[in-house]
């Protein structure tokens, strides 16, 4: 019973999500038997995945797939699954993964579960744990179809190296040109040189306590020192102090970094819903009664305008000593 994973990449190299899926799949394959097969579109270093337990990489070498197209990708997965006797398909909690997987589930009439945070407790019935109610609950869900599709929550399983002898084969899905014509990509705008929020190990996030957009210099500097991504609370994005793409929370992005630093954010329930599966939370707030402290691992009660510059200095010292 082999497992198929979506191997997303950045400039041809499998990204962190791909490696996390591989780690999960390998651990699952040890229970269910079978191989771990990865499907990628134009990978230049597919062998990077062998280190995480991938036995076989199917690498699509077809220009039409260079730009993501949800229906074409779903079609490719359907064909790869059929040709390799796949019963379990894993995708990641990324923009592309969340886009094409429900199409695939609809095409295969397969049970599909998102926000998955654990390996199955048992294989038959196949029961996994998932987050629900915006991180306020964990649900145990049984998947009852022959083919099962899981979308794994970010950073919930982690990376586990597990080197195997792998092979890479060229894969040629048969997808009609019309599919690519239906929806066409005309422009991509991406912030360059910044750590993307989705893959960040550390996120520095700030709220209305910062008083105005002109005060974000120290937030960006702190992020730079830590190699972190920047984020913000909803009102900050609504007022246009920061771009919408930085808004985290129940109605914004869901994040789960190893460290989430919240500066001048009160910790409203809707904000917490998007960030409280972070592994560690550090809160810096002038108000000792701020609700965020209840959800935090570490806290500093103090004025951000005083604490943050000091913290930057201390971190610079620390970094140069390590």
């Amino acid at each position: 019973m082999s497992i198929l994973i979506f191997a997303e990449h950045q400039n041809g190299k499998p990204n962190k999500t791909a490696k996390e899926l591989a780690s999960y799949a390998k651990a699952l394959a040890e229970k269910t038997g079978g191989e771990v097969i990865a499907l990628g579109f134009g990978l230049t270093s597919p062998e990077d995945l062998y280190a995480y337990g991938v036995n076989k990489v199917l690498n699509v070498d077809d220009q039409r797939f260079t730009t993501f197209n949800a229906k074409a990708y779903a079609e490719a997965f359907k064909q790869a699954a059929a040709q390799n006797g796949i019963k379990i398909i894993l995708t990641g909690q990324t923009a592309d993964g969340m886009y094409f997987t429900p199409l695939l589930a609809g095409m295969l009439k397969a049970a599909y579960v998102t926000q998955v945070i654990s390996l199955p407790e048992q294989n038959d019935p196949f029961i996994i744990k998932r987050k629900a109610f915006s991180n306020k609950a964990i649900a145990h869900v049984a998947l009852k179809t022959d083919i099962k599709i899981l979308n794994i929550a970010k950073n919930s399983f982690g990376l586990q190296e597990n080197p195997v002898e792998g092979v890479t084969e060229t894969f040629k899905p048969e997808v009609a040109d019309e599919v690519f014509e239906e929806i066409k990509s005309v422009k991509v705008e991406k912030a360059t040189g910044k750590v993307p929020l989705s893959d960040a190990e550390i996120i520095v996030s700030a709220g209305r306590g910062l008083k105005g957009p002109e005060n974000w210099g120290m937030i960006e500097e702190l992020a730079e020192v830590l190699g972190a991504a920047t984020a913000c609370s909803k009102p900050v994005a609504d007022m246009g102090w920061r771009p919408h793409s930085e808004h985290v929370g129940q109605t914004g992005k869901q994040v789960a970094p190893n460290l989430y630093i919240a500066i001048g954010i009160s910790g409203a329930i809707q904000h917490l819903a998007g960030v409280n599966s972070s592994k560690n939370i550090l809160v810096i707030n002038i108000d000792p009664e701020a609700p965020f402290f209840k959800a935090a691992d570490y806290g500093v009660v103090g004025d951000a305008f005083e604490v943050v510059p000091k913290l930057i200095e201390k971190l610079k010292e620390f970094k140069s000593a390590h």
Partner: protein, 248 residues
């Protein structure tokens, strides 16, 4: 032009979440139900298109009768007609089958859904409906411009956005960004009065398999108490982050 809003009805974002029947079911006691926030952006977008083009706007919801007050709210905001498929859906696949069946004899040009329902956070229904009906689908939509049957659609991607070109008919999974926060509509008195006279048709569900089963719920493990560090002793904080949390 005809637009359909697929409406998900969810607990208010401030709700305390509890479970009943031995933690096997969500406890609706004392919960206030609202329009799914992502669908709220979609509803406002639909109203803007309606006002510009004279489009007709319908709403469909798969759910129980108790949710009709929320459906009425969409009519009060300006939708013309609503449908409720009378069942308590057990999973997304089941819901998608109901919606795909509903669409069989309809001819909507634009179907607006949300990126996800904030209760079960599935993010599945619109894509599944697209697969079942063969309609074009774009997810995580943060911008939509129509020019006749041509559509320019912005979707959120990692670290930015992608602009896609397509033609109607189309299903979108919308989210915040689709319209500006301050444009969000709320019902006014006149709308509420008018909504009472607007049609709300109740339809029977079709048989469909339940492919996922929710067996049990639990609360996430409680956080241990926060470790407070004095603002004049940030060395201690760095030590904790380095040696205890091992994150720097």
């Amino acid at each position: 032009m005809k637009i359909l809003l697929m409406l998900s009805v969810v607990p208010d974002t401030t709700s305390k979440i509890n479970f009943t029947d031995n933690d096997t079911r969500f406890d609706k006691t004392g919960i206030q139900f609202v329009i799914n926030p992502h669908d709220e952006f979609g509803l406002t977008k639909a109203m803007q298109i309606k006002e510009k083009t004279g489009a007709e706007l319908h709403v469909v919801h798969v759910g129980v009768q108790a949710n009709e007050s929320v459906i009425r709210k969409t009519l009060a905001i300006g939708a013309d007609k609503a449908f409720r498929i009378d069942t308590d859906p057990q999973d997304s696949f089941y819901t998608a089958v109901q919606l795909a069946e509903f669409l069989k004899d309809k001819d909507y040009d634009l179907i607006i859904a949300g990126r996800e329902s904030i209760d079960y956070n599935g993010g599945m229904v619109p894509g599944m409906v697209a697969a079942m009906t063969g309609m074009r689908f774009i997810n995580a939509v943060i911008g939509l411009e129509l020019n006749g049957t041509e559509a320019m659609v912005d979707r959120e991607i990692e670290g930015g956005k992608e602009t896609l070109q397509t033609t109607l008919p189309l299903i979108i999974g919308g989210q915040k960004g689709l319209v500006k926060e301050e444009e969000l509509r709320i019902p006014n008195m006149r709308g509420i009065m008018m909504a009472r006279k607007k049609p709300l048709e109740v339809l029977s569900p079709v048989d469909a398999p339940v492919v996922t089963e929710y067996l049990k719920f639990e609360k996430p493990p409680a956080k241990s108490a926060v470790k407070l560090v004095d603002k004049d002793n940030l060395d201690e904080l760095i030590d904790l982050l380095h040696n205890e949390a091992k994150v720097i």
